[in-house]
Amino acid sequence: MIELKNLTKRFGDLTAVNNVSLTVPKGEFFCVLGPNAAGKTTTIKMITGLIKPTEGSVNIAGFDVQSEPLQVRQRMSYVPDFPFLYEKLTPWEFMRFIGQLFNLSEERVQSASRELIPRFNLEPFLRKPIEGLSHGTRQRVAIAAALMHEPEVFVIDEPMVGLDPFHARVVKEILKERSVAGMTVFMSTHQLSVAEQVADRIGIINHGRFVAIGTADELRHWSGNDSLLEDSFLAITREEANITAERMPAPATTP
């Protein structure tokens, strides 16, 4: 469903993403972890088509991101860490706009809204301008709107920023349900507990390469640490060269 082939991105001398190949199959919940400036956002930007890869290609739902961008965007949703919303619209107007932008019928807009709005507890805010909403509420509006067209691939960057524990739980539950129903989720986060709870597989990226990919248990095992994922993450990213050579198998591109 998401297929990265020898993906490389260079900014002058700096190689932000270095020859990454990865396949995330349909219905998988994939979490990317990594230190700051590891290449997570650059990878996401190439997946969503915001920037062109220097080398390699990205395939989404069978379509190449560069040569068939509209087919890809029609099947994908992207929610950045600070999503853009039209400030003077109300959440209801914004959701209708997104529905129309994705060419949904009125019936689908209605049914999707009636399902998503109550789940995200957005009813009290539907008639208020977005400019007056808190960051967490805006984030919920953005995620709900992004789910309206039932995307095949959902890419989300730091979804829990600004969300209270209750709504963080709601987001995790909905994304997990959708993933079980067939939606592929590609999530970037710094919250290891979130990754541990929801991800089918976790990829740890550092210096532009996936240095480890596997389930949470596999990562713990490879790092020689059986307790916290945090310890495994730190062990793997601290000096990955020391670990990779001896104890860890080469990252698998598919499960």
């Binding site: 991105k9 930007k45 915001l50 509209l70 099947r75 994705f102 959708r178 067939g182």
Partner: protein, 585 residues
Amino acid sequence: MSDSQNTPPPLGDGRALRLLLRVNGLQAWRKLTSVGEKSKLLTLVIATFLGGYGLVTYLLFYKGLDFLRGFPGIGDLLMERMLFLLFAVLFLLLLFSNLIIGYTSLFRNKESQFLLSAPVSSDTLFRWKFIESTLVASWAFVFLIAPMLIAYGNVRGVDASFYLLTTTLVAGFIILPSVFGSWCAVTLARYMDRRAFQIAAIFGFVIFVFGIRLWMQPEQLNDEAIEFRVLAVLDRVMSKTEFSQFPALPSYWLSSSVQNWADGLRVSARFYMYVLCANVMFFGMLAWTRTGRYFYEASSSVHSRAHVFGQWEWFRNWQAHRAAFSYPKGFMERVFQLLPWIRPDVRALVIKDVRMFWRDTTQWGQTLVLFGLLAVYILNLRHFTRQLSNPFWQHIISYLNLFACSLNLATLTTRFVFPQFSLEGKRVWIVGMSPLGLVKVVKTKFAMSTIGSLIVTLGLIFLSCHFLKLDWQRTAYFVGAIAIMTVTMNALAIGLGVLFPNFKEDNPGKIVSGFGGTFCLVLSFLYIVSSVGMLAIGTPWVRRENITADPVSVTISIGGFILLSMLLGWLPFRLALRKTRDFEY
């Protein structure tokens, strides 16, 4: 759920564009109506100001054009040249404005990034942004030229068809700079790094100024030429502005059509209208159908770019050297250490504000343009030595210079000083809860902006007096007047900035456009008009030989000026200090 059969086809380009127009139109309408809902007074102030501006501009243009037309034999020629020159310069300004706005709108705008990941083609996205930047870049142009064209029509005594024609022509005319501007923006974004662009822009600007300086260099004329060879002198003046009648300039087609229609030469007017329309349609179609395909490439390049100098080893070495951080004191800190009597916490605040101002290119860039233009004008006064030996002109120009300098100052204080307090934003607690305290913060900002403004305004007024060859008493008088006005307008701006803060906004331009900023601009403008008016009417110096200065009117005028200054500066500043004492974070 989530399979291809459930996925509708992407929206067509036309429907997507209509949807974007509708949603952005709704946004714009709500922004407009929210101003009225927030404050009736603000709406009234803005409406009065706009109406007043339109009326005053119309009257000025009408008087000016009528005056020009009154020159025996050459009135029509002068008016024609002025029309061509005005539109040629406005065309260049529009081009520049479209380039900047187009670039920002296409590549630095969050909506563009959002739409790039939505099922909207790059062509549609470009088309929407093209429409948006055309409207944003051109509304001021339309607002500026509308009173001028009405005045021109009235001076020429035209019928209603003239206004219909000019409306059509102007609507077409604004599209051409937008097409070229957006094309330049896409091309620059595709091939030039930001730093390289800045360097190229500075070089381009220097070359442009140098070229203009060479081209428009004043010529010394002898008495014989001025007295007896008027046409020859006029011819030399006209030759300097002949570029505005270059037939390939779009402004030439517009001006020719307007002028010919007013002259009753309808066939010729229609010809130039068709030329303009043909070009608008051709280049407009190119932009509409072709430029969008390069937009995605350019956008990707903008967000993928390394430093342009990174290809050179010396730069990489320098960067590596910088990376080895040695925990140094900054340059500004070393400079301010030379002023040991300033308290360390005050010094820290000043250094922070100076650094933030300096690192925001748009802030000091606009200041430079504003006062740079005034400096160029004042420096050029030295070329008018002959005319300025006349006391009447000396007198008039010295007051006009005070007026111009204080108007620039008002722009500076409203645009940069007013938002100072708001710019602390949500971080206001950092300085407010420090031992420095918010009251001291406000006083420091006032002192800093006043000292900064005084350096510029005193320098300009001193230069003006010097080139006008005013004696030391008059120089001291004008220096004193501008010093009082500088202090007053800074106090007013800081005071109103604290009384009407906007902590939600990071963009100083948007902070200024609120009620407080508009109020500050209007009050500053009224203060300048009243002050310069009072000082000029009650001048201690004679304007003409047969008029003597009346000591009573001089005292009343200067006293009134000082009283008004104290009231307008002291009152808002005092209210602001009182508010900061009870400030809730």
